[in-house]
């Protein structure tokens, strides 16, 4: 048991869940969430993130472990007594009620006086910029508008916590970005605590204070976005978050906080991940945008000799595909400016990188 920090608002303590009495879907989930934090649970489908959310909301029972809000265990609290707002992927707006009635529902359940309800509904409609839409039915709204109503409905009873289960999953790319901005704005403005579930890493990276990366029922890493991207603790996180190149090699020695890795294409100095041992096989990860093609003005520690395969024009940048001697593909992203080089097919090239941008994981 960890020490209870004074500012911990929500705590998961070794939470486990099994549906079939044989396999654990969530295998010992620990997390402390501070008041007002924006936490994202990120992972491939079936990794247990939604199960954690459902246990928190009370729609799934906790097999073992404890979930506590403000130091009070909520394991035994009925879902309707938890005071947790929730936004669903399909919005779950009640189709037979108008937008205003939808917003008023949680308030009328709480037996708030009619006049006060009306005032509060107007206030929250204004907050999500839908003041003129109170009398519409959900069926008459666009996807983005529905999403905003769902958000307002989850916030209107001022819950201690708001859960969002892939809320932007049904929106197209432009709206998605708009709504990300919207959610971030409301979060900053009102200061509620959010637990957000998604499998979309861009969404997670751009919105969260901290991200918990799930795989196979276990949290692989829980860290702020930049740390997750720049310093992944294991190969799964490095691979799952963003794009990455993996180069197979062997650790020769570790010194001054850097590991020397011998590969077919040259020797690389890289940050060692936990569990890396001298003389063992390893994989070095380098982001496509952290690789530079020789000649360049950039400072560099490592140089790899590779063969040019092809390049794909994407618009704002160009993706170069190179091949290592062992046949592994290496992708390099280069800004589409005058410096973007041309190659003949099969030409030799040198890829340069900084040691701090390379991470060596045990294979």
């Amino acid at each position: 048991m960890k020490d209870l920090e004074t500012d911990t608002f929500l705590r998961f303590d070794n939470v486990k869940k099994s549906y079939d009495q044989k396999n654990l879907v969530v295998k010992g989930f620990d997390m402390d969430v501070k008041q007002g934090e924006f936490i994202t649970l990120l992972g491939p489908s079936g990794s247990g993130k939604t199960t954690v959310l459902m246990m928190l909301a009370g729609f799934e029972s906790v097999t073992s472990g404890d979930i506590a809000i403000s130091g009070q265990s909520i394991n035994k609290t009925a879902p309707n007594k938890r005071n947790i707002g929730m936004v669903f992927q399909n919005y779950a707006l009640f189709p037979h009620m108008t937008v205003a009635e939808n917003l008023a529902y949680p308030l009328s359940v709480r037996k708030m006086p009619k006049a006060e309800i009306k005032e509060r509904v107007a206030q929250y409609l204004a907050l999500v910029e839908l003041s003129d839409f109170g009398n519409r039915r959900p069926g008459q709204l666009s996807g983005g508008q529905k999403q905003r109503v769902a958000l307002a409905r989850a916030m209107i009873f001022q819950p201690s916590l708001i859960l969002m289960d892939e809320p932007l999953g049904a929106l197209d790319k432009n709206l998605r970005e708009q709504m990300q901005f919207e959610i971030t704005r409301l979060h900053k403005q009102i200061g509620f605590t959010v637990i957000y579930v998604t499998h979309d890493q861009t969404e997670a990276l751009s919105m969260s204070d901290r991200i918990a990366v799930f795989n196979d029922g276990v949290v692989q890493q829980c860290a702020p976005p930049s740390e997750l991207y720049e310093r992944p603790v294991n190969a799964f996180v490095a691979d799952f978050i963003g794009e990455n190149n993996f180069i197979a090699g062997e650790v020769t020695r570790t010194a001054d906080g850097f590991a020397k890795v011998k590969t077919d294409a040259g020797t690389i100095a890289a940050r060692p991940a936990e569990g890396l041992r001298d003389g063992a096989a390893c994989r070095v990860s380098i982001r496509p945008e952290k690789l530079f093609i020789h000649p360049t003005d950039h400072a560099y520690d490592n140089a790899l000799t590779v063969k040019f395969n092809t390049r794909i024009y994407v618009g704002d940048f160009i993706r170069y595909y190179f091949e290592l001697p062992d046949g592994t593909d290496i992708i390099v992203k280069v800004l589409n400016d005058l410096a973007a080089p041309e190659f003949d097919e099969g030409a030799q090239a040198q890829l340069l990188s900084l040691a701090k941008d390379c991470t060596a994981f045990p294979a």
Partner: protein
């Protein structure tokens, strides 16, 4: 560059119109077989039935001259000898044609007991010479039976002679015209009572199918699809078994020495066998069983489409599960509920086989009386009038339903 016109050139408009016509024709051709079938199997019989209920030329065809002669009759006392002689002539002709029985049936409907009178008179007159009837017909007729001397008999013949008449509709709501043509209550009240009972039973059956079907549909809609499909087989099973088999199975269960009674007796719960069969109870029980799928299927189809997140959303907002069900789930499942209720109600209003087999006298519904008039009493006109009223009743109920619930809300799958 030529200027681009906003309006359609005449030729383009013609082309577009031709295209539309061609599509309409194609659509029409698709439905032609069904249309023909419907006209023969649906529109024509119903129209005939409606017509039949007001159109009855039997008497008019049998004794046209008598009816013409009766036109001058005041309606009081015995008609002139000329009328009687004409009728006697007609009777002899009918006796020889063997059509006097038809007339006997028609008159008997208005005046019970006239059937045998008419038949025996026809038999008597057959043996009399034509010349004798022409001179002495009136006396012969009165001699054959006293009732030919009563004004009521002739009024009955005169009224039965009307080709178009609303009297069958009056009869089917237990009304009749008295001697002065005023509409009054009939002495025997049958049909209004029967309509009311039919409505009541249909309502009870609909209510029972809702009580039994709603929780089942709810459970199935939220079960895993494997379990739901397995249960669906049991819901559909009644559809795959013959209606007669199902109904007779109820007879085997409910009769005096049947499974239910003998089990209860063996358990010592009852001493005497219960009267379970041939009453309203058995009719309602068997019909609820038979009509249950009509309630479950639309309910299940609608509930299957209601995502569990709606209930969860309501509960997360602080609503109790029961409150969330009544405020959120029930209104959302209403299309299926109203479709099922309407289906069950309308089917049960006109149901025939089950009440006929297990209803006894107590559990008869309006359709059984219609069948009785079609098959036993041969009063097709009254059967048609009763059937038309039933149709009207259903249309009115449907209209009310549309008015208060809205047929837009219906969802059958």
């Amino acid at each position: 560059m030529t200027n681009i016109s906003q309006t359609l050139a005449p030729e383009d408009a013609r082309n577009a119109a031709r295209e539309v016509r061609r599509q309409r024709l194609k659509a029409f051709l698709f439905v032609v077989p069904l249309l023909v079938f419907l006209i023969f199997a649906f529109v024509a019989p119903i129209t005939t039935m409606l017509y039949r209920s007001i159109y009855n030329p039997t008497v008019a065809n049998l004794v046209p001259e008598t009816l013409t002669a009766l036109e001058d009759w005041s309606g009081e006392g015995v008609p002139d000898d000329a009328v009687l002689i004409q009728f006697a002539t007609d009777m002899k002709r009918m006796a020889n044609d063997r059509t006097s029985g038809q007339l006997a049936d028609e008159i008997n409907r208005a005046l019970p007991g006239m059937s045998s009178v008419t038949k025996s008179t026809a038999r008597d007159l057959r043996r009399v010479e034509d010349t004798d009837i022409a001179t002495n017909g009136a006396a012969l007729l009165l001699e054959a039976d006293d009732r030919w001397g009563e004004a009521a008999t002739w009024r009955a013949i005169r009224d039965a002679g009307a080709i178009y008449s609303a009297s069958y509709y009056l009869t089917s709501v237990d009304l009749e015209r008295d001697r002065d043509g005023n509409i009054v209550q009939r002495d025997t009240q049958i049909y209004v009572q029967l309509y009311t009972k039919t409505l009541k039973m249909a309502l009870i059956i609909t209510g029972l199918t809702i009580i039994l079907g709603y929780p089942l549909a709810f459970f199935m809609a939220h079960a895993s699809s494997g379990l739901a499909n397995f249960l669906m087989v049991f819901v559909l099973l009644p559809f795959w078994t013959s209606l007669l088999v199902r109904t007779t199975a109820w007879i085997a269960l409910l009769q005096t020495g049947g499974v239910v009674n003998s089990t209860l007796q063996w358990l010592g719960i009852i001493d005497e066998p219960l009267e379970l069969l041939y009453n309203e109870f058995s009719t309602i029980l068997a019909m609820t069983h038979i009509l249950l799928p009509f309630m479950v299927l639309p309910l299940y189809a609608v509930m299957r489409g209601i995502d569990s997140s709606f209930m969860r959303a309501a509960i997360s907002m602080g609503s109790s599960p029961l409150g969330a069900w009544s405020k959120i789930y029930l209104p959302m499942s209403l299309p299926g509920l109203s479709a099922g209720a309407l289906l069950v109600f309308i089917i049960s209003i006109g149901y025939y086989i089950t009440p006929a087999l297990v209803g006894g006298t107590d559990g008869q519904m309006i359709s059984n009386i219609i069948a009785f008039h079609m098959q036993v009493s041969n009063n097709w006109e009254l059967a048609a009038a009763l059937g038309s009223l039933l149709l009207l009743l259903i249309l009115v109920l449907y209209w009310l339903f549309d008015r208060f619930v809205g047929t837009d809300n219906l969802k059958l799958g």
